[in-house]
């Protein structure tokens, strides 16, 4: 009979050969994302929207900002105006094509910036000692209690109405929300043992937060942020409807809906329906991407 040690040597090679799913080349998150049909559809829709917006000068058949008085309110399918014209005779198709530029910018940019800011704030506040986190969260509370519209009006008054006040407003409006979501997730997470383990392994506060906890709270962040983005296209439209946002005659989906809503029951529902549907579609697509991303980053999701 041989000694245990020798037999161990024999057995050493064996498990390696067997040990289950072998040398899986690690697939990246975006590969996992694209493997999900809904997320894929979402990516495609968002991409198309972005590309069409970028290519607007070449794609749009008419100038989106000028119309001809005589041709107003043409129905869908009119000669020369595939999707008809609006109440001052501008080509709806052209306006839709151009309209994504501001809408997408306003939907994405501030949310991205706010997400980054809020993630840092929320992580720090959730993990820092009580005093620091208390102060941080109270500052967030102040932002919170502050009416968004007041920001909007103040920015518009200071910098003139336009896109930037809206972007700033959305950032300031979104930060407290996202921060609180992340904050409470972090608080729930920080007591877990892997966090303790990472500290044992020498992780500094920042490393614990960003390398260990962040990936584990990424799901709500992604979900929350992608949900916001869609809503913000709409919010920006609401702001511009009261004169703070995008300036006419710039085409903007949100504004088209707001302006068209008045004609909704008066025989021209398409004027608000078309841009409304597009906003909904893009926002929904974004939500799909969000859900997909969430799942792609979820190690349990195969």
């Amino acid at each position: 009979m041989s000694s245990p040690v020798e037999r161990d040597i024999v057995s050493l090679g064996a498990p390696a050969a067997h040990a289950g799913p072998a040398a899986l080349p690690s697939d990246r998150w975006w590969q996992r994302l694209l493997r999900q049909p809904w997320a894929c559809a979402g990516v495609v829709i968002v991409l198309v929207a972005v590309l069409v917006s970028l290519a607007a000068p070449w794609l749009a058949p008419y100038d989106p900002t000028t119309g001809v008085g005589g041709d107003k309110l043409l129905p869908i399918g009119s000669d020369g105006h595939l999707l008809g014209t609006d109440d001052i005779g501008r080509d709806v198709l052209s306006r839709l094509i151009w309209g994504g530029r501001t809408s997408l910018l306003v939907g994405f940019l501030p949310v991205v910036i706010a997400t980054v800011l809020a993630t840092v704030l929320g992580l720090v506040a959730g993990y820092a000692p009580e005093l620091v986190s208390g102060i941080l969260m109270r500052v967030v509370d102040i932002l919170f209690a502050f009416p968004t519209v007041l920001f909007a009006i103040a920015f518009a008054a200071l910098y003139g109405p336009g896109l930037w006040p809206v972007v700033l407003t959305i950032i300031l409006a979104a930060v407290p929300y996202l921060t609180r979501v992340i904050y409470s997730e972090v608080k729930a997470e920080r007591g877990k043992e892997y966090v303790e383990a990472s500290r044992a392994l020498g992780a500094s506060g920042a490393a614990v937060l960003f390398r260990e906890i962040l990936p584990n709270v990424s799901a709500p962040i992604i979900v929350y942020a992608t949900t916001w983005a869609g809503g913000m296209i709409v919010f920006a439209a609401s702001l511009s409807a009261v004169g703070i946002g995008v300036q006419p005659p710039t085409a903007d989906w949100g504004r088209m809906v707001a302006d068209g809503a008045k004609l909704f029951a008066l025989g021209a529902p398409q004027l608000s329906l078309l841009p409304g549907l597009i906003i909904t579609l893009v926002a929904t697509a974004l939500n799909w991407v969000g859900d997909g991303l969430r799942d792609a980053l979820d190690p349990y999701h195969s």
């Binding site: 037999r7 498990p15 799913p21």
Partner: protein, 563 residues
């Protein structure tokens, strides 16, 4: 009338990868008769837990494939709907999962969870259910039932949680209990108590048990038959006595041969230590560090400055309960000890005696309520600069008892190991860190391909070894190991222990080694400390463990060891 209760035929289990299904169980068949206890032993990662889960339809639906047949009391379980399965689960079959530490809902007190379990199968009032619960907790050796019932899971020690789960499984008197390593976190006394409980249930109620274990003591004490699994297949099966006495298959022989036995310290230690290190690479760990002066390891009288780890009058108390039931509980009570450079100090004691708490304090993760801990003269609480802190972290490492919880669920295995190494400055580049991590995986007997997995895709023993590899990657000078091999089969355990031994010899590492397995403690440690209800009972050289003059606690533990 057939006496077969559970009949498993040609069971195949695979996990879906991106393109292909990877088989982990490749057509196994076995059966459990009424009133029979069948033990499954086998290599870590051989598919034991997965098989158990498959029987009750508890494998993740999306990522796994199951085929073959599982018949319980004549009824096919595979393919049953969740609702039909529910009539079997709980009253027909219950299960004790391998990882008891995360099995309880963290949001509810034990009382509430227990009542739920009891009342799901019996129409009893709260009062009565509570009485039943208390009785069962006592039966599994949890005498402070009031405190246990009023605790949240995280307030209980590993062994306490494991016993709670066992009580859950048994309380509704099922026909079959599938127990996956049910006693890994238990000291020998309690282990025996629990196993005897199973035996008595079998005797009185005709209970059948499918017992998955690594512990041959448990196997021989409890089971009627045993099957041995390796690499997804059954390599041997038969009556327990036959298999143990005369193992046929090579693997079984290896396994049985690797079991350390109590009272043979010199022999066992010798066998392990003298083995060649062929096939085991320590490259990722020991490179570039010179050997310490020979003999330092076991010398008893070295000076105090040679103390690697030193605890003085350490006390830790917790506030437990709520409202009027609130009280202070001393988990660690004025403990002082030291571990010398190159020494292995074993720490034993009953479940819940404060070992894990002490381990956390020793590694500076938790500040003691009073008293102090120093590592090479430095106290964890007085670390000034970041560099100093990193140095301290490098010096002392902890292998967590709850291997699963201590792994970041969103990080691949290789990075679990590589990133801390990089952070602590052990490796200088990402590639180097990864390479070291992969070779460490090999050192703990895991294939390099494991590196690509996420923690939840591993077996219990695999996770435990990741924890060890991770702690080693820091190249610590002091290593606190909290039940590091409880989920490992004997041969893998021997492998890991030998690795630790070699490292100690090469690098003069010091270990604080916590374990319930007295034979391992005896063979691996230089000295042994015994903890009882938070207080240190005695410290003695390992050779003296089996000698007559041990205190009552130690003797109790010794007496209960299953041979």
């Amino acid at each position: 009338m057939t006496t077969t209760l559970l009949q498993v035929d040609e069971l195949r289990i695979g996990f879906r990868g991106r393109r292909e299904v990877t088989p982990v169980v490749e057509g196994i068949s076995f059966h459990v008769d009424r009133g029979e206890i069948l033990a499954i032993v086998g290599e870590s990662g051989s598919g034991k837990s997965v098989t158990a889960s498959a029987v009750l339809g508890l494998l993740p639906e999306r990522s796994s494939t199951v085929s073959g047949s599982v018949r319980f009391a004549g009824r096919e379980l595979l393919g049953l709907s969740e609702r039909s399965l529910n009539t079997v689960r709980g009253s027909g079959i219950t299960m004790v999962f391998q990882n008891p530490l995360t099995s309880l809902d963290p949001s509810f007190r034990i009382r509430s969870q227990f009542l739920e379990v009891i009342r799901s199968r019996r129409g009893v009032g709260e009062e009565e259910a509570l009485a039943v619960a208390s009785r069962w907790l006592e039966t599994v050796g949890l005498s402070d039932t009031e405190r246990v019932l009023g605790s949240f899971p995280h307030e209980l020690s590993g062994g306490m949680r494991q016993r709670v789960v066992i009580a859950f499984a048994a309380v509704n008197e099922p026909d079959l209990i599938i127990a996956d390593e049910p006693t890994t976190a238990l000291d020998s006394t309690v282990q025996k108590q629990v196993l005897d409980l199973l035996l008595s249930l079998r005797r009185d109620r005709g209970l059948s048990v499918l017992l998955i274990t690594h512990d041959f003591g448990v196997v021989s004490h409890t089971s009627d038959r045993v099957i041995v699994m390796r690499a997804g297949r059954i390599v041997e099966s038969g009556r327990t006595a036959d298999v143990l006495a005369d193992p046929r298959h090579d693997y079984t022989r290896t396994l049985v041969g690797a079991v350390p036995t109590l009272g043979s310290r010199a022999a066992a230690a010798g066998a392990v230590v003298s083995g060649s290190s062929a096939g085991v690479t320590t490259a990722g760990v020991g490179a570039g560090v010179s050997r310490p002066p020979a003999g330092a390891a076991t010398a008893d009288g070295s000076g105090a400055d040679e103390d690697a780890l030193r605890a003085e009058h350490v006390v830790k108390s917790f506030d437990v309960g709520s409202g009027r039931r609130r009280r202070t509980f001393r988990a660690v009570d004025d403990v002082s000890f030291s571990v010398r450079r190159g020494e292995v100090l074993g720490l034993i004691g009953e479940s819940g005696s404060g070992k894990s708490t002490l381990a956390r304090i020793a590694t500076g993760l938790v500040p003691p309520s009073s008293g102090s801990v120093t590592v090479f003269g430095r106290s964890a609480e007085q670390l000034g600069s970041a560099a100093e802190r990193r140095r301290f972290r490098r010096d002392v490492q902890l292998v967590f008892q709850d291997a699963s919880s201590a792994l970041n669920p969103r990080r691949r295995v290789v990075d679990q190991i590589a990133i801390p190494a990089l952070r602590l400055g052990v490796a200088t580049s990402r590639a180097e860190a990864r390479e070291q991590a992969l070779s460490l995986l090999e050192s703990v007997h895991l294939p390099r391909s494991m590196g690509q997995r996420y923690p939840h895709e591993l077996s219990g023993g695999q996770r435990q070894r990741i924890g060890i590899a991770r702690a080693l990657s820091a190249r610590p000078r002091v290593l606190v190991l909290d039940e590091p091999t409880s989920a490992l089969d004997a041969s893998t355990q021997a492998q890991v222990l030998r690795l630790l031994h070699e490292l100690r010899d090469e690098l003069s590492l010091s270990y604080l080694f916590i374990s319930h397995n007295l034979s391992v403690v005896e063979s691996f440690c230089d000295r042994i400390a015994v903890l009882d209800s938070g207080a240190l009972q005695e410290v003695f050289p390992a050779e003296d463990l089996a000698s007559g003059e041990r205190g009552p606690v130690t003797r109790g533990l010794l007496d209960a060891v299953l041979r």
